[in-house]
């Protein structure tokens, strides 16, 4: 696996902590991720139940299981990325680099990088109802930055597309500066977002100056 050195921000003291973005995750890596995250997911679920938090307010990826996404990695078009900090996987992403095309003009019909899955570790979730502040922030935006960079490397000029879970919609619109293009009936009615090449250039520049 190849890696890029970066930083994530510890929420408790706002200190930047050294981290590595790894590219080319293998099946065994996803199994390790699931093994590490499963226990934390269970704790979160127990706390939500105890606090009487209504199910629509639970984290929408609480049921995700990264071990079930292992077959995805057999595809040449799929790439697995992860951020490791203090010897733990802090976030994971799987991208697709074939079969997806831009809907927005002026590049309509040209290929883009599709973010199939992106999730941060459960200990990084902010859940005020159960007093969880999250350990590190900027994990999701750093992974998204890597997706934009991969799009550049593939010759897609930074174009990125994805379907967002409802709780993640504000993140992709405000933090990642993507454009919402309507709900997609073929994809559980999730909101589809795209980042144009112009928006990508701005996003990458912002990442470099961090």
């Amino acid at each position: 696996m190849s890696g890029i050195e970066t930083f994530v921000q510890r929420r408790s003291d706002k200190e930047l902590v050294s981290a590595t973005i790894l590219e080319g995750m293998a099946a065994t890596d996803l199994l390790v991720v699931e093994n590490e995250w499963r226990a934390e997911r269970s704790s979160v679920m127990q706390e939500l139940l105890s606090a009487g938090v209504a199910r629509p307010n639970w984290p929408e990826s609480l049921h995700w299981d990264w071990s079930r996404k292992v077959p995805e990695l057999q595809l040449l078009a799929s790439t697995g990325f992860g951020i490791v900090c203090e010897k733990r996987w802090q976030g994971v992403m799987i991208t697709k680099s074939a079969g997806y095309f831009t809907r927005l003009e002026p590049d309509k019909g040209k290929p883009l990088l599709y973010v199939d899955y992106l999730e941060v570790a459960p200990w990084n979730w902010v859940i005020p109802q159960i007093n969880r502040d999250g350990l590190y922030k900027t994990v999701g935006s750093t992974l998204f930055w890597r997706a934009v960079q991969q799009s550049e490397e593939e010759g897609f000029h930074g174009r990125v597309g994805l379907h967002a879970l409802p709780q993640a919609e504000p993140f992709y619109e405000k933090v990642c500066r993507m454009r919402p293009l309507g709900r997609d009936a073929s994809k559980q009615n999730l909101l589809y977002f795209e980042l144009t090449r112009q928006q990508a250039a701005g996003f990458l520049k912002m990442g470099e100056s961090k």
């Binding site: 190849s2 590219e23 080319g24 057999q74 595809l75 040449l76 078009a77 680099s97 074939a98 079969g99 590049d107 019909g109 040209k110 290929p111 490397e153 593939e154 010759g155 000029h157």
Partner: protein, 70 residues
């Protein structure tokens, strides 16, 4: 990105013309077009090996045709 190996590719004029056209249309290098083709071919083959079928659909004409992949 992963390490890459170089190969020589022999194409006919017609094949090269199509590669040029796709490269222009998709705003990709010729290498990137061929890489896309390989990824899609593998994806389609894996799904067909799993017993799935590939179709082209024309919604306007209400036509649907199965694509046979070799």
């Amino acid at each position: 990105m992963a390490a890459k190996k170089t190969m020589t590719l022999n194409l006919t004029d017609a094949e090269m013309a199509v590669l040029d056209e796709l490269s222009e249309k998709k705003d990709l290098s010729k290498t990137a077009v061929l890489r896309q083709a390989l990824r899609l071919y593998q994806m389609v083959n894996m799904r067909i090996d799993r017993g799935e079928k590939l179709f082209f659909e024309d919604e306007a004409k209400k036509e649907k045709a199965e694509v046979m992949v070799l």
